[in-house]
Amino acid sequence: MTVQDTTRTDDARVRYEPQDGVLLEVEDLFVEFHTADGIATAINGVSFELHQGESLAILGESGSGKSVTAQAIMGILDMPPAVIPSGHIRYCGQDLLTMPEEQRRKTRGPEVSMIFQDALSSLNPVFPVGWQIAEMFRVHRGMNKSDALQQAVRLMERVQIPAARERVKAYPHQFSGGMRQRIMIAMAIALDPAVLIADEPTTALDVTVQAQIMSLLEELQEERQMGLILITHDLGVVADVADRIAVMYAGRLVEKADVDALYASPAHPYTRGLLESIPRLDQKGQTLAAIGGLPPNLMRIPPGCAFNPRCRMAQDVCRTDRPELREVAPGRLSACHFAEEVIDA
């Protein structure tokens, strides 16, 4: 650290310390998209906490609001059309939503950081990858070019890019999908963020590479004690990495549980449907159970439980009363009127 760096830290940077180990707290968050066709409620009252060193997986199908949640936390939603009518996103006790934009921008990168789904399109095609990683150090830490580039090489080595020293000058399109995602990860962890959000980091990759990227993420998370939010639609991907899983459906959390408990006995019919629809080698010759129907249109979310039109267990009460997220067993939350029966089943 140079003298200049220290003064920067003292003057410009706000120190953030987690309170009681809670890094990030999302409270009763609503996100709406105001479009010409009407108002789509993408997030409909979501609350969760992320602790230091914890991996939280947010699981859901397309349109369930999981990516919007990530974008809302990062503050990169396009507003308009997006509107956040109510809710809080607190990072170490500071509400990000009421923070002045300039101060909030400075939290992106060193405090909260993000990895995107498609690493090819997430890297600027006209600059060498090393330059793009080095830019993080130059912009946020005021490092000079050669130091920043040295750091970039070190990071590329850390994310296991072979011959990093030679490839620091290569362009994104000269790398394979997996390597590009490693570079994206290197950029995201460059400034040692306390929270890392990975939005479907392996969706664009093939299965063997998926496993490598996931284990890299897990390794980095343990090494740096980051809070990791892993957004995915793939239950198989998260099983090894996540500590807790939050399942989203139509903009709401429908279940939240420790990963082992959730896999052992889901407490929501939707989660159960998802688990049953994973192809398994030991069930040869059987028809794969799928969840019938489609996720609801976010402009016309059905009254009662949003999942009721697709739920095999739906009763009259499900069509009229919306089940709130409640504790159904120690450390387990479910938003189902019949959660206890689902667990026992």
Binding site: F116, D118, N124, F127, E135, V139, V153, Q174
Partner: protein, 308 residues
């Protein structure tokens, strides 16, 4: 990794060189590496260098005064004394072609640079900001876009005070072309910015804490620039001919100012009887335009990293 594409590492000691690789220079130096392998780059650069030399030191190429009239030899065909022949006033055409480069190149370059700067800046702001800013700037551009070139140029050139200073005359013509030319550049830039803006890497840059200014500078502009460069080089030729048009109408450059446009206009009347009067200034004009278009092509290819 078997699936890793093998990157071409052109530099022998990348880390030692890498230390001073900056944002502008990394893009520019890589473009340079591609360009210097292209024969077209060298041909066009050589031509442009010759034209620039002509524009700066015409006396290097000829010792004949372009405004020295030898009326007895008017309209004489190319011969050993006057290589390109003489025009209707008995001026030496070779000498006039050499001296004419200055006005034409000056008008072409200045108009291109200024329309690109003005139009590009407006386009970036309109495209990036969107909403009201976009509407306002686009409509403002449309107002200028709706004015016909000749009518607009007449208004601009006639309104400005008359002057005898060579550079002020050239600047007046440039101003007329810029005032009428920036909206098309702004439109082009706006549309490519709008294309680039929703890309994931722009989002990713924001998510990693880049300020709006940095997003524009490092991510939007470098990716939106290629069409501008191509159109700018094509426009350069168009501006040189527009200068000729304005001169022809008597509102652009005026004799005794020497320019290819002035000479082409003067030669059009004798196109059938004395084609050499038209041919040589046109040849110089075409070569200059060709050189810039060729260079523009090479630069565009070099700026696209996928071609490397």
């Amino acid at each position: 990794m078997s699936d890793a594409a093998i990157a071409e590492t052109t530099s022998a000691a990348p880390t030692h060189e890498g230390g001073d690789t900056g944002p502008a220079r990394s893009l520019a130096s890589d473009a340079w590496r591609t360009m210097r392998r292209s024969p077209f780059f060298w041909i066009s650069s050589a031509l442009i260098a010759v034209f620039l030399l002509m524009a700066i030191w015409p006396s290097l190429f000829t010792s004949t005064d372009p405004t020295q009239a030898v009326l007895s030899d008017a309209r004489v065909r190319p011969n050993s004394e006057a290589w390109f022949g003489r025009d209707i006033q008995g001026y030496d055409i070779y000498s006039r072609c050499i001296y004419g480069a200055r006005a034409s190149i000056l008008v072409g370059l200045l108009s291109t640079v200024l329309t690109t700067l003005v139009g590009g800046t407006v386009g970036v702001f309109a495209g990036y900001a969107g909403g009201w800013t976009d509407t306002l700037l686009s409509r403002l551009g449309d107002i200028f876009f709706a004015i016909p070139l000749l009518l607009g140029a007449v208004i601009v050139l006639v309104t400005l005070p008359a002057t005898d200073n060579y550079f002020l005359i050239v600047l007046k013509v440039v101003l007329a072309l810029v005032v009428l030319g920036w909206p098309s550049m702004a439109r082009l830039m706006r549309s490519s910015v709008i294309q680039v803006k929703p890309n994931d890497y722009v989002q990713a840059a924001r998510a990693l804490g880049a300020s709006p200014w940095r997003v524009i500078r490092s991510h939007i502009v470098p990716n939106a620039l290629a069409p501008m460069i191509v159109v700018a080089t094509i426009n350069l030729g168009a501006y040189i001919s527009a200068e000729a048009t304005l001169s022809y109408l008597g509102i652009g450059l005026q004799p005794p100012t020497v320019s290819w446009g002035v000479d082409i206009s003067a030669a059009v009347v004798g196109m059938r009887t004395t084609p050499h009067m038209l041919f040589f200034p046109s040849l110089f004009l075409s070569l200059a335009v060709l050189a810039f278009i060729m260079l523009g092509d090479v630069v565009r290819d070099a700026l696209d990293p996928k071609n490397r």
